[in-house]
Symmetry: C2
Subunit: 283 residues, 2 copies
């Protein structure tokens, strides 16, 4: 881990959390921000350049000019309208492969992106290497712990999330007293959590009586350098809004953003926050 | 198949479609309508009684008084607030078992209900026996056929729906050009379809350019007498509203309500309607 860290940044908080983590560790950072995904206000405090998913050549040049030899891919990448994105020569050549991969799922798309950068001599590292302080630790964080029923729900959720992951569909599930309330597909975790509020009150909890858990587990696929499950303070807040009792993510293979703020939110709102051990729920 | 057909009716169109089918075949019908699930306007044209999930004794008595020896369970049964439902003596005795089963999923709940009725000497039959004309046939119904890409999406959807089914979570998935847009859990198929409209337009279709398919496949569980996947004209309409290109359900193990009206809706709105062969997508 040396030199300038390059970050190919999609949407959400993760790319900036990585950038902040690297900067705090004394490392220089350069962000290639993906248009329509990354946010100007987030990237503006770092050296950066903008481009589309189709401007691979431009991205590589700006990273190289910035002295980057090690890059990481992070953040939500929504599949673009392929006919509408800006392309440079390198992007146009890579496009057929990228489109084909995207049709197979996010995992395949990310693997192709990793391959493209590696072919050009970049070292591609995962979030865990680029920002090791974001790794979810094992055990209970904060003041609240799951009940026996909630531990059973976590087991159900881990099975469900892993089933989705093995099909490269999603990584998250919400379970309340044995019933799977929601599964994540293309909508993302926040949208999945929000719709719990639309379910009949009999099957879910409330702020007064919290019930049910959010579980996120990584895909069993090889490419764990990209696309690990992520939670942060806003995840806790969304879960609190729909009456959930807590959040469980896999220790060592999921990311916790803004640790202090997230634990404070869990404590304040009465939710547990658990890093479970992968082996505890072996298939 | 003889005598009066008893129908334990939850929500949705299925119980009434079964009642209408039996009546059209010259058979007498009696409905035990579950409070808060079945609708008064639907059941009023048939002999019926009302009761809660906890009034098993009352339900059995009213069915027996009506001359019923053969019953079928049909329609959506939402898990009630156990503390709030009305109980009779029989219901109170069965309750611990029912609550425990419900915590394991809809399948387990339905199996316990079937067991309760069988113990009392009722013959429990599936929709396929009670109303064989509702069974989805094999092949394309109506004027529209899936494209090659849509056939691939159906295969992806069948895999996803079966994975959910094997975990007793749901039976339906929406897939567009390789990407799984939505998976069904406790919210039901209609709510799952509706949220496609919230996804970025790049990953989904529109009324002008239909893309993506709804797939429903039965659970691999043994108890196929209850809870088969169902579609009807309203399913086609919901799919049309969110820009989907068609609907595929498993031939022989899924139900098509109001066949003529449903095919007319598909033809008019430009969607395909396919009954796929179970073996075509062997795991």
């Amino acid at each position: 881990m040396s030199g300038v860290l390059g970050i190919i940044a999609g949407g959400g908080e993760l790319p900036i959390a990585i950038a902040e983590s690297a900067r705090a560790a004394g490392r220089d950072v350069f962000i290639f921000a993906l248009q329509g995904m990354a946010a100007e206000q987030d990237v503006k405090s770092f050296r950066h350049a903008w481009g589309s998913l189709g401007e691979v050549g431009k991205g590589m040049k700006s990273l190289r000019d910035a002295g980057v030899s090690e890059v990481t891919l992070a953040g939500k990448v929504m599949r673009p309208e392929w006919g509408a994105i800006k392309l440079d020569a390198r992007g146009a050549m890579a496009l057929p492969k990228v489109v084909a991969a995207a049709a197979k799922g996010d995992d395949a798309l990310l693997r192709v992106m990793v391959e493209l950068f590696e072919k050009e001599g970049f070292r591609v590292v995962g979030t865990i290497d680029a920002a090791p302080d974001l790794i979810m630790p094992k055990g209970i964080l904060g003041r609240h712990a799951p009940t026996k029923q909630q531990e059973v729900d976590i087991a159900v959720g881990v099975n469900a999330a892993r089933a989705l992951g093995s099909l490269d569909i999603g990584q998250a599930a919400v379970v309340c007293e044995g019933l799977v309330l929601a599964l994540e597909a293309a909508e993302g975790t926040d949208a999945m959590i929000a719709r719990i509020a639309n379910l009949p009150s009999a099957v879910r909890g409330s702020a007064a009586k919290r019930r049910g858990v959010l579980v996120k587990a990584p895909k069993p696929a090889q490419e764990r350098r990209v696309d690990l499950p992520v939670i942060g303070a806003h995840t806790i807040e969304r879960c609190a809004e729909v009456g959930l009792a807590g959040v469980a993510i896999e220790a060592g293979a999921a990311l916790l953003l803004h640790r202090k703020k997230t634990i404070e939110a869990a404590d304040r709102l009465g939710l547990f926050l658990l890093g479970f051990h992968a082996g505890a729920y072996a298939a």
